[in-house]
């Protein structure tokens, strides 16, 4: 068994308040340069909503990710290798700038230089403002905009009409750093690669030739073309920080502290098989089976044999990501049906359920009410299932039941009542497990949320260069070319 390590993230959506701090700090760190004004490596979208770029989840239109042939073989939805070469000169499925949005700035100079007059000087926008990455924020634009949400469209007519009883939540997105990345597979030049040490997916700017197949290949539309340098750029999982044991910028600056970063171990030889599972509802289990139990002695031995350092194995054992996926069974992948085996996982939000219960006048904290609502509320749960489980409501219900149980169990404790062991038992947990889960979700400190082992440099080349300072890692910043 070969073992590789993967940096992975979990986002707890109940805690996202849609403040966009992650997007803004990410932009300041990575995309505040010419050519990528329109690019948001991290964006927060309101769901239901069209997302960014608009309707990116409509894969009939944008052809991202993988699909199965009739014989069950995995193939790129955008077409065969020959087809990719044939469409080098014009890619028929590339989003236009207007599908993202036309970026603009303001003429701030006018505030200072405007002649004296009766009216306050204004800073006029430099381009017509028509759309942006978060235009339909918090359901702004209402049903007119949200009805174009591809997920909502795919749900039945009945469900769309009941959209009037609105629910909403925020979905922060970065690159998924997939185990089976379709952007990597789409690149004719082989310029995008997955790092063996930490699974981070990066673009080699030196070999990117502007063929832009990666933009089409990625079903999450998280590879962007820099229109000044003509090179693809994407989320780097802040690898210069990760290598030093620091969390990504988006995670570190998250106001709601909803992001968890940790290492998971996986078997690369199982990836293709897992991605090729026929039944879409079985994809989550298949994806989980690619990940290895870091406490299993045979896995530890195989990991060490595969060259994974001891401290990385320990980090994998302490990984909050692993706990949230396996121990607490809370985290689900985003759109497993794209078959890329994404490695940014989400804890689906309970808030649509709580809101619905409260809006109907019942006690939104009462366990019985909430359990009943998780069974009864088909729309929000169906919607969440379309995002996180390829449409299967059962795993979403299971997660939400655990969250409900945790609320009820902790309510007793907070009110000084005797904890009711039957509540965790009803979702197959013990009271102490549930309390640990509560601690990880609610009050975990940074060292528990981010368990990031340092990259090992001591085995790098040039062992005796007489300098203890590590050789600088080449950053992916392209030289900005003046046009």
């Amino acid at each position: 068994m070969r073992v590789l390590a993967q940096m992975a993230m979990v986002m707890n959506l109940d805690k996202c308040i849609g403040c966009h701090t992650c997007s803004v700090t990410c932009k300041q760190a990575w995309t505040n340069r010419g050519g990528v004004e329109y690019a948001w490596f991290n964006n927060v979208e309101t769901r239901p909503g069209q997302g960014y770029p608009r309707t990116y989840e409509d894969q009939d239109r944008w052809r991202g990710g993988w699909t199965l042939t009739r014989r069950g073989r995995l193939k790129l939805r955008s077409g065969s290798r020959l087809r990719k070469l044939a469409t080098l000169f014009f890619n028929p499925h590339l989003p236009a700038l207007s599908d993202y949005y036309e970026p603009w700035t303001y003429d701030y100079q006018n505030l200072i230089t405007a002649p004296a007059g009766d009216d306050l000087p204004t800073a006029k926008p430099t381009a017509p403002i028509t759309w942006s990455a978060n235009w339909d924020d918090s359901l702004a634009g209402g049903p007119e905009l949200a009805q174009h949400d591809p997920i909502l469209k795919a749900m039945s007519e009945r469900i769309r009409l009941e959209f009037e009883q609105a629910f909403m939540f925020y979905l922060p997105r970065i690159c998924e750093h997939c185990l089976n990345p379709s952007c990597v597979a789409s690149c004719p030049s082989g310029a995008i690669y997955k790092r063996t040490e930490d699974g981070i997916v990066l673009v080699d700017s030196d070999t990117c030739r502007s063929w832009r197949s990666c933009v089409t290949g990625c079903p999450y539309k998280k590879v962007f073309l820099n229109h000044q340098t003509g090179k693809a750029e994407k989320c780097t999982f802040c690898f210069p920080r990760i290598e030093l044991g620091m969390p990504t910028v988006c995670a570190q600056t998250c106001v709601g502290r909803l992001r968890y970063i940790g290492v998971v171990l996986y078997d690369p030889d199982r990836v293709l098989e897992a991605a090729s599972v026929r039944d879409e509802h079985s994809l989550i289990d298949a994806q989980k089976q690619v990940l290895l139990d870091p406490h299993d002695p045979s896995v530890i031995e195989a990991a060490l044999r595969s060259g994974i350092p001891q401290d990385w194995v320990v980090a994998a054992q302490r990984s909050p990501v692993y706990s949230l996926i396996f121990d607490y069974q809370l985290a689900l992948p985003l759109h497993p049906e794209y078959r890329t085996l994404p490695m940014v996982w989400y804890i689906p939000p309970l808030s649509p359920v709580v809101d619905a219960v409260r809006d109907t006048g019942f006690d939104g904290e009462d366990a019985a009410n909430l359990f009943a609502a998780v069974e009864a509320l088909r729309i929000p749960i169906g919607y969440l299932a379309s995002l996180f489980t390829a449409g299967d409501p059962a795993p979403v219900r299971e997660v939400l039941r655990r969250l409900v149980a945790m609320r009820a169990f902790m309510r007793d404790i907070n009110l000084g009542r005797d904890p009711d062991e039957s509540i965790p038992a009803s979702v197959g947990m013990t009271g102490s497990q549930m309390y640990d889960m509560y601690r990880l979700l609610a009050i975990a400190k940074a060292e528990d949320r981010y368990v990031i082992p340092h990259a090992h440099r001591e085995d790098a080349g040039a062992p005796n260069d007489g300098c203890s300072v590590p050789t600088p890692v080449s950053l992916p910043f392209p030289k900005v070319r003046q046009s």
């Binding site: 590339l94 082989g190 997955k194 790092r195 063929w211 832009r212 340098t229 003509g230 080349g461």
Partner: protein
């Protein structure tokens, strides 16, 4: 004069070409790209770009056939000069028209779509002038039905350049249009490494053979970036 034009200039151009490519690849990998502007405009590009690229690839093939294969070889293969001529004019004319139409759409697009114009470099302008005039003259020669047999003048000289014994006399007797076409083409070849045309050498045929998922180790890619 003839020596300068037909025995010195080609080598200057080829030296610049080879040296320029090496230099560009060594020092400006970040600039080595097709610099796609599809993000800004897709309708005209969808028409012009496949048309142009298809045409120019055919044209390149045609030039290779016409210039590198001596007339004796095609005759030995049983192809009469008449048949050859008809094919050259037919296929060559079609390829040239495709190329010219594609290029016209692309130039129109570059000049009229503001975002595309603003994304252009000075080298793009130079490239368009050289490429456009070469294509225009070449197509005019092909379509004018000029009876001159370039396989007895231009082609032997072209091959002799690569044998390092330039047959100046052969090209000197060709009509001026052929000479002009060749001269501008040499200039284009000399300018090649310094324009976006370098992307022609990046045709990713390796894609057909490699595994889908590319893995690289951190140390390997770092070593590559620093060398």
């Amino acid at each position: 004069m003839n020596t300068a034009l037909w025995a010195v200039l080609p080598y200057l151009a080829l030296t610049t070409f080879a040296g320029g490519l090496v230099w560009r690849y060594r020092y400006d990998k970040l600039g080595w790209t097709a610099r796609s502007s599809q993000l800004h405009e897709r309708r005209l590009l969808g028409l012009g770009s496949p048309l142009f690229h298809g045409g120019i690839l055919l044209t390149a093939l045609g030039h290779a056939t016409g210039l590198l294969i001596p007339a004796g070889v095609t005759r030995a293969l049983g192809m009469s000069d008449g048949v050859y001529k008809a094919m050259a004019v037919g296929v060559g004319g079609l390829a040239g028209l495709m190329t010219l139409a594609g290029l016209a759409i692309l130039v129109f697009r570059r000049l009229t779509v503001r975002a595309v114009l603003r994304a252009s470099l000075a080298s793009d302008l130079v490239m368009y002038v050289l490429l456009g005039s070469t294509i225009l003259i070449g197509l005019a020669i092909t379509l004018s039905g000029n009876g001159h047999d370039y396989r007895a003048s231009v082609a032997p000289w072209f091959r002799s350049v690569f044998a390092f014994q330039p047959a100046v006399d052969a090209i000197a007797k060709a009509p001026w249009a052929f000479q002009l076409h060749a001269l501008i083409a040499w200039t284009l070849i000399a300018a090649w490494p310094f324009t976006r045309l370098v992307h022609a050498f990046s045709l990713p045929l390796g894609y057909l053979a490699r595994p889908y998922i590319v893995y690289r180790s951190r140390e390997a890619s770092r070593g590559q970036a620093l060398d």
